[in-house]
Symmetry: C2
């Protein structure tokens, strides 16, 4: 139907006849002539319809925004002075011979270039219009290129694309499962997978050696943060490998991806132990673009006569850390109050600070509500922090977890607010994670999942689980976890030991993961893998604000699709067939916000 | 960990040191020496372990079938006379220096080369072992290549890979939906998509122009036939196209696929109207490898004094057809009785036949229970069928639907039983489908789906829906429907007309497809597409007997996964969160067969 996409037109086509198909992006009448900006997925071209071509003019005259037209005409240079160098097609225009209306359009609920004026709800309800915005088409096109690039690389590396089931059994990630009632097995339910973890391990046991899949995963969580009930993973697993193999393959994949898709040369990925990341940045996914660090001052603060500090400084599970912000002395009292509120979100009871106005003057030169308590250590403190005039020093003093979360978040916020970024992209590997973390009740939980291999023997693990490290690795980019993985347990004794430490009894283990434990008996190879969050990767690479911008048909925070009005009510017969009944009727507005 | 895959070893590596990782496929002791056939995904290599290498020998001596070993040794030619030319690695062997046990294995529930001796249930329960069979690995590897090839082609053609939701709203295919109770919207349910149909049409409305996806689809049907509750579609859609565009793109895709993956040059795809396919082959997906055809004999049989024939021959909804089988006169009475039973499955009340022993002798030369009724037309009949000595002629006389189904199926069965195939691959396009088919109550249903464009105007469609043709096309290969598609309705008046004809009221249309009808208002381009069944395509290309052989983790006929024991029971708390309760408890064996 068309000879060219609108965006493809340029000077080389001058005097050629072309046929375009697309949408009226804008229509202007000027000096008795009609100007149509015709839009398709490749761009926008200016079409001129002259009254001399009567039929064409009459048709163009009826056309409104978002009408679908087919236009044949001749390409010509734009008249002197009317060129638009900011537009790829800005040097030429098309003089229309024929204009055909392929479909009309009523006035859309919002104009594409005014999408900002309507709420996201309106745009989600009319997603098919919102997706017409060139920046949305570009984001999804880039997503397609990213998937393509990843597939090409992995297939090149000998990974086989193998599909795993969507209708399956509860998986071990521990988040809430989406359930699907079975009609043929009354009273039983399928679960939608939170990841293909168990299946990819079974594929290794089968000898496929290298597996990958761009897989849909599902978690029925409360969607605070920027989450979606269904999300996409780049999932891979390989046999007869160790950490360096998987990390090498995937680092090369991401570096190649940035090179080919964004023309960005990423630096080599440094590796940082979990413990170092927590103590220096208060986070296991530190944003290394920000040149601020936490400094331990327990030894000093344990000596001060100020319980708020000396308490945590001396407690085994406590921490006192300082965060020095060069030039931060200029922060207003109001700004500091804001930051105090901010750290409150993470459980910090306050935010102590010292402004270094003139260090040479000693205490005189410092401004702070707390410095009076720490005269005895102030010199050592400023020494250790290498404090300069004009700096501000923030303090966190509390349980270690609270201090890390509060100062870790404050560090990121300060980096944003004061625009301290030293580079555009800061990737890294975080390694040497603990196998387990204890909840407040002291009960151990797997930091990743219970199939992660420890870096010690079963005996050592049993002897001191709390300090055992795992063979897991996370890839972090600009403070976002792009992906995580590990070498898995391939030895059934080790697997049973881990379940034991987690307090998962024989029976429960059998019931939940019996088929995996079985599989480990029949000749399981050493194996490991990694899974990337594709939505997040695309979001970072496209500079999108939320993952909703890089998903064609996303759901709202309340897990609803405003476009199709899903979820919806179903008939009594359907429920009966599925052997279930409702506890309470659906509220009519249930699928709304 | 390895230097080569087992299957990669050959004469060029003689005297090289190699390291292999894999499974003990077979172990033989011979003259005090241990022979290990080591298997990985690429093949099998023979390893010799000599008592001189004591440590290696001791380890190899413990090894049993399916142990996972790492072996380092030197490649050498096999001794004179012990070569195995049937094996890619048959000219060489590896003399082991080191043998390391990476994992042990208990005796598997079945030996790989004896999988035939156990039922499919045992193999599905231990799928990870069944998948170790080289032919299974090859099938899934070919599937991976097919997906890769399809993606490469479509992306080359400018199609964008765009993901559509899995948690969505009931789709219009009309089969039973899988439902997912919503926790956040009590009493409401998501449906798993039977296809991305509506979303891909919305993507066209958005202007993506060319979309594709290898998409998971779901149907909660009774799995007679060779079906799976979740299956995979190669789904595509394009804007500003007509039938020839989509058929051209997809025919080229399939021909390229066969060329590159199987090195098979498919013939050009002939096009056949639905009506012709039904009358000549009694099927809308005829297997053209079989040189048998149905011949209409209504005009003759309406003249015979034999109600069983003259009735249907004269009835508007009846048909009498003949199926001539060259050389079929040799069929035994017993065989014919079998075929009579067979057509009974399709509702045929009997299977009349005439054996042509010596046509020259006239009636004398014919053998048949019914020929006596048709003396008056027998010469014309034999003439029309060009009957030769040794032929058998079968008859179907009943309602047209019954005759087509019975003789259509008989034709295929005879082709199989008598191995009449004239070629390996017989593709074709079936076109000019009716828009609707009437059920026995005379109610009209969409033959494809209600978004298929008719080839006539809304007025003509309303005037005589029963005879209206659609712009749909099916791709058929060897009697299997590989894929189906159509040009869609992009005009809302036409869409409403179709709903009207189908007896879908305004309200119901709004409720079910309101968002699509809306979208058609805002500037929908002409568009069309096609969807292939990937599982079936792979099955045909790998020569598999069932689609279960080309799916890594398939479900049983009762939609259960014997490996993970899904579906399974869930806790009362989970159900409560989902606002549902059971009508009856799950039977403990519910997830079994």
């Amino acid at each position: 139907m068309r000879s060219h996409y609108c965006g493809q037109l340029n000077e080389t086509l001058v005097d050629d006849q072309v046929t375009l198909c697309g949408w009226v992006h804008r229509r202007r009448d000027h000096g008795g002539v009609i100007f149509l900006d015709m839009r398709d997925r490749d761009g926008i071209a200016q079409v001129v319809v002259d009254p001399d071509t009567e039929a064409a003019f009459a048709t163009a005259d009826r056309a409104r925004n978002e009408y679908v037209l087919r236009i044949t005409g001749r390409v010509r240079p734009r008249p002197e002075g009317t060129e638009n160098p900011n537009m790829p097609t800005g040097m030429i225009e098309v003089l229309a011979k024929q204009v055909e209306v392929l479909n009309s359009a009523v006035t859309p609920p919002f104009q594409l270039d005014e999408h900002g004026k309507v709420g996201e709800e309106v745009r989600l309800k009319h997603r098919y219009i919102d997706l017409r915005r060139p920046e949305m088409i570009d984001k999804l096109r880039l997503r397609s290129r990213i998937s393509h690039n990843v597939r090409a690389y992995l297939e090149n590396q000998g990974f086989l694309d193998i599909e795993t089931p969507i209708l399956t059994r509860a998986t071990p990630e521990g988040a809430r499962d989406y359930l699907v009632p079975s009609r043929t097995h009354a009273g039983s339910f399928f679960a939608l997978p939170q990841s293909p973890q168990l299946f990819k391990q079974l594929l290794m046991v089968s000898g496929f050696d290298r597996y990958y899949q761009i897989a849909k995963c599902f978690r029925d969580e409360d969607l605070r943060a920027d989450r979606q009930p269904e999300f996409t993973q780049i999932d891979l697993e390989a046999s007869f490998v160790e950490e360096d193999d998987i990390m090498g393959i995937t680092e090369a994949m991401i570096r190649g991806l940035f090179q080919e898709v964004l023309d960005v040369e990423l630096p080599r990925f440094p590796r940082m132990p979990y413990s170092e990341a927590m103590s220096r940045f208060g986070s296991d996914k530190p944003d290394l673009r920000i040149p601020l660090e936490l400094t331990d001052v327990d030894d000093l603060m344990s000596q001060v006569d100020f319980k708020v500090f000396s308490g945590p400084a001396s407690a085994a599970d406590g921490r006192v850390a300082a965060l020095k912000v060069p030039g931060g002395a200029e922060l207003s009292r109001k700004a500091i109050d804001e930051y105090t509120k901010f750290v409150g979100i993470y459980g910090a009871k306050g935010l102590a600070w010292i402004k270094v106005n003139e260090r040479a003057k000693g205490l005189e030169g410092l401004q702070s509500p707390i410095v009076k308590f720490m005269e005895n250590v102030i010199d050592q403190l400023l020494e250790r922090l290498d404090a300069q005039d004009g700096d501000i020093i923030f303090f966190g003093a509390d349980k270690t977890r609270v201090v890390n979360e509060a100062l870790g978040a404050l560090r990121v916020k300060l980096g944003e607010d004061l625009d301290l970024y030293t580079q555009a992209w800061a990737p890294l590997w975080v390694v040497d994670f603990p196998m387990f973390e204890a909840d407040d009740a002291g009960r151990l939980h797997a930091l990743h999942h219970p199939f992660t291999a420890p870096s010690c023997s079963p005996e050592a693990l049993k002897a001191d689980p709390a300090t055992a490290l795992s063979r897991a690795y996370d890839m972090v980019l600009n403070g976002t976890e792009l992906g995580g993985g590990s070498i898995r347990i391939h030895d059934q004794t080790m697997q049973r030991t881990v379940f034991e430490v987690l307090g998962i009894g024989e029976a429960e283990a059998e019931e939940k993961f019996g088929f995996l434990l079985d599989a480990l008996k029949f000749g399981a190879p050493p194996h490991g893998g990694l899974a990337f969050g594709l939505d997040r990767l695309v979001m970072l690479m496209t500079g999108a604000k939320t993952i909703r911008e890089v998903i064609a048909f996303p759901k709202t925070q309340s897990a609803a699709c405003l476009l199709t009005d899903a979820p919806g009510e179903v008939s009594a017969e359907q429920l009966k067939e599925l052997n279930i009944r409702l506890r309470q009727k659906a509220k009519p507005e249930s699928a709304g916000e």
